[in-house]
Symmetry: C2
Subunit: 516 residues, 2 copies
């Protein structure tokens, strides 16, 4: 294995390795299966059989050789469990053998991966362009010489930001605070919101802290540690550290036994599907939720500094709302002078068929803050208003403040997205996939309930009454697929997921539907 890297002239060692993987098996599907989803194929000018693969040396389909976990994986899991909690383990992988849309395990199984590390792999395993970046002198230095960015930024940090993270900044936002995880991104955004709100209450950036504020802050008491809040939405997910977990409302298992702030939650619209058959009810439901949100903002005993919301509630079960709902929320937050934080940790970076999911909303007035992580492979938050920079240094600060190595990787991901036109690809393949599942839903209505995500790229989900069995069985058909909420099957393919992959997935989904 290591010998493949000895010659650095080979820039695609992992590619070559992947190409050596067995690509054919009894479970291999070819693009000819697309004819089975005639409705979907007909809806598109492009047909999957004429599609040019982004990675021609990708496996042609999944390979399933053993039960998963197989004997080698079982041994490795037992070994790992001695020192690391493996009870949430889904599959032990060999990433050096994984390539493109395919994840390999330790027993020769190679699965089409439409879960992608909980929606975190953007452009494929062992992507050759990213491998090249990973081997670059800039990356080597970034790995070895990790700076404390707030104190000792590296000479090219502005350029790395401008040609990377900021190049894809949401419209209206031109500043960034870099961090390390989605939780971290949201919590630093909340901190910015609290500082901004108190500054506003205080009368501006020039007003000094009072002695009472200074003293009480050190005692974790008001006014220095104020009784302000962040409003989030029921079934939303924003992370698992103490501040972010206080806004997370997904499942009790995420929150149990952890002290939390007394912060409010508004209802998130519970839409009925298919949308076109429930237009009036859904409008009424969204109106009700907006009214309750407004009521909380007006009256909650710990005043709301900011509202945080996901464009699609991703851990909470793939709950969608209409662009009109989000525009309404923008209006309300503006009316009461609270910030709107859009948590794009899971929705961001292309998977909804727009680079940022909130691009679907056609906002006149952009969000105040947008947080990112996962597919960006780094984390942080964007903002545009200079007042969101705290009035003094060292208020928003930590040792690392992000990771230049991951910022370099995100830049490389952005370049790959542009090179292969992957956002547009995802929009197109998403439509194709959605149409295919819609056809399946007509045929097997029990197995594909509440199909959602139309026009949202590959960010598609449906409910299945035997969801966990569905997910488990998918592996035996060569598909790695994830769930969310109580009963949702959530599709989170990478941005390099093409129609021929969709055909494999659709074929497996039909097999699953038949077998359950």
């Amino acid at each position: 294995m290591a010998t493949l890297f000895r010659s650095s002239r080979s820039l695609r060692p992992l590619t070559r390795l992947a190409a050596q993987q067995p690509a054919r098996s009894s479970l291999r599907y070819t693009s000819s299966t697309s004819s089975r989803h005639g409705a979907a194929a007909a809806a598109s000018v492009d047909s999957s059989s004429t599609e040019t693969p982004f990675f021609p040396d990708e496996p042609a389909g999944p390979t399933v050789k053993t039960a998963i976990p197989g004997p080698n994986a079982k041994k490795a899991i037992a070994e790992l469990h001695k020192v690391f909690d493996t009870r949430s383990l889904n599959m032990m992988a060999n990433y050096q053998h994984s390539y493109g849309n395919y994840i390999a395990d330790l027993d020769g199984n190679v699965l089409l991966d439409v879960y992608a590390q909980i929606a975190s792999i953007p452009v494929g395993y062992s992507n050759p362009s990213l491998v090249k970046t990973a081997m670059s002198p800039e990356m080597v230095s970034a790995i070895v010489n990790r700076p404390a960015l707030g104190n000792f930024p590296q000479h090219d940090w502005a350029s790395i930001l401008e040609t990377g993270i900021l190049k894809v900044a949401p419209r209206g936002l031109n500043q960034v605070f870099t961090g390390m995880s989605g939780s971290d991104a949201n919590e630093t955004a909340y901190k910015a919101a609290f500082m901004w709100k108190r500054q506003q209450q205080r009368g501006g950036a020039h007003v000094e802290f009072t002695d009472a504020e200074i003293e009480s802050s050190m005692n974790n008491a008001a006014p220095g540690a104020p009784q302000l809040s962040i409003m989030s939405f029921k079934t939303g997910f924003h992370g698992r550290l103490f501040g972010s977990l206080s806004t997370t409302r997904s499942k009790p298992i995420h929150k149990m036994d952890i002290p939390a702030f007394d912060w409010p939650q508004a209802p998130f619209p519970n839409l009925k599907y298919p949308l076109n058959e429930h237009v009036k009810e859904n409008e009424a439901e969204e109106k009700r939720c907006l009214e309750e949100a407004e009521e909380i903002i007006k009256n909650f005993h710990n005043p709301v500094a900011a509202v945080v919301i996901e464009p699609v509630q991703s851990e909470g079960g793939d709950n969608h709302a209409s662009p009109a709902f989000f525009r309404g929320l923008r209006e309300i937050t503006r009316k009461y002078d609270v910030l709107l934080i859009v948590d794009e940790v899971q929705t961001g970076v292309g998977a909804t068929g727009k680079f940022w999911a909130h691009d679907h909303w056609n906002l006149q007035d952009p969000p105040d803050i947008v947080t990112f992580s996962k597919k960006a492979q780094t984390a942080g938050y964007y903002f545009g208003n200079p007042e969101l920079r705290p009035n003094k240094p060292y208020r928003q600060f930590n040792t690392w403040m992000g990771d230049p190595a991951r910022a370099l990787l995100f830049r490389s991901i952005i370049n790959e997205i542009e090179r292969l036109n992957l956002v547009e690809n995802t929009a197109m393949v998403g439509d194709y996939l959605y149409a295919g599942i819609e056809t399946l839903a007509q045929k097997y209505p029990q197995q594909f309930q509440n199909l959602r995500g139309q026009g949202q790229g590959t960010f598609i989900a449906f409910d299945n009454p035997k969801r966990d069995e569905f997910l488990l069985k998918a592996k035996t058909l060569g598909i790695n697929i994830g769930g969310s909420g109580a009963s949702a099957v959530r599709l989170r393919p990478m941005l390099i997921f093409q129609k021929h992959h969709a055909d494999i997935l659709l074929d497996s989904l039909e097999k699953l539907a038949k077998s359950l």
Copy 2:
């Protein structure tokens, strides 16, 4: 620059690059200056002039060519400020030109770095062994194929942990939860403590959550979100996210305007120096602090689940306490069945002359949890008690749960520490450096007040009445040095800091003392 990496047969490209840097200037110091610190040199069998340098191609001393920031740095800082807050910027660096103990800027200045990215660079800039690791196929895959470790760990994760992070686990602790930053490490440790305490109150791992707990947890209310607390110490620092910041008690600027939990703080001993002249007073002070800590644990209205403490309060001004104090705290926490979390984020990984600073305490009964980050280049917490694994999966979980790339780097750091015997080196050089500063303190008592850290490796500090001016002026003499608390100058050299570096530092300290 990039061409240096084209041939991968060259395993020390950054080394070679660094060697090309101008090493000689009017401000260069040689080991012959050690004779000026005769007392220190005499105290040691080994003299700096006979010392073998770890990195023979390191610059022989600092180079100062311009004011810092110089013209190139000024331009780059202005550019960066447009998109990134630079008000906390100390120095803009070029890390590809930095090597060993020396940090380079954009104007040809090369400084001896005894601050080391806020105590985060363990074995030198562009360390050749680390460069080799950074270019390895394992690292390239880890960069490109970042897993969701809790769900899809990589096949060699157990081995990476066992031959790396766990190889240096503190005595009595054999499990790890990996994370991404010091704040993250502490907050996940706090979560573990709260889950453990509630489980204990509930009557064991087998007792199911009640409906009341399940419902209230989703509303951020007790009993599901319990009114428990973490006790920390005045002037302690444990991070800046919402839970960790609630235990941080360093400075108002760190806490202002951020909502905080109603958690208690105990006094940290305020020792008088020199220690041998204040034995009785200091004993009384430590007794007072322990009594107050016990009082809080017994009576605080939000029951204490865990106590968190730094072996040396590092951001709060380099405040030390005696091993007896920490043994007393271990006794009290055991007596009242609360966990003892030792925050080794800044003290860990060798700088105190032991691998973990709490190794100095001779505890019979180890801490329950030890957190790490900074020099480890990754983060997380160690524990030993299996009950600190939550009773169900997905309670302590997040997408990435650490970073295999950083875990690989820490393993390489550990190997480098062993290869060069760097913990012992740091103990020895620390004694030499301490003796040298002690001599200076006798000569310039105003400039080196409350010298502390004897026997604690290079983890040395002193107070200076014009501290900020002292730090600024140090740069003009070719030394990058940091402060902490209100008036402390804190030394945080890397583990590869040798006597000949100490001589350069001592010489500069004397120049500074004379000039202020």
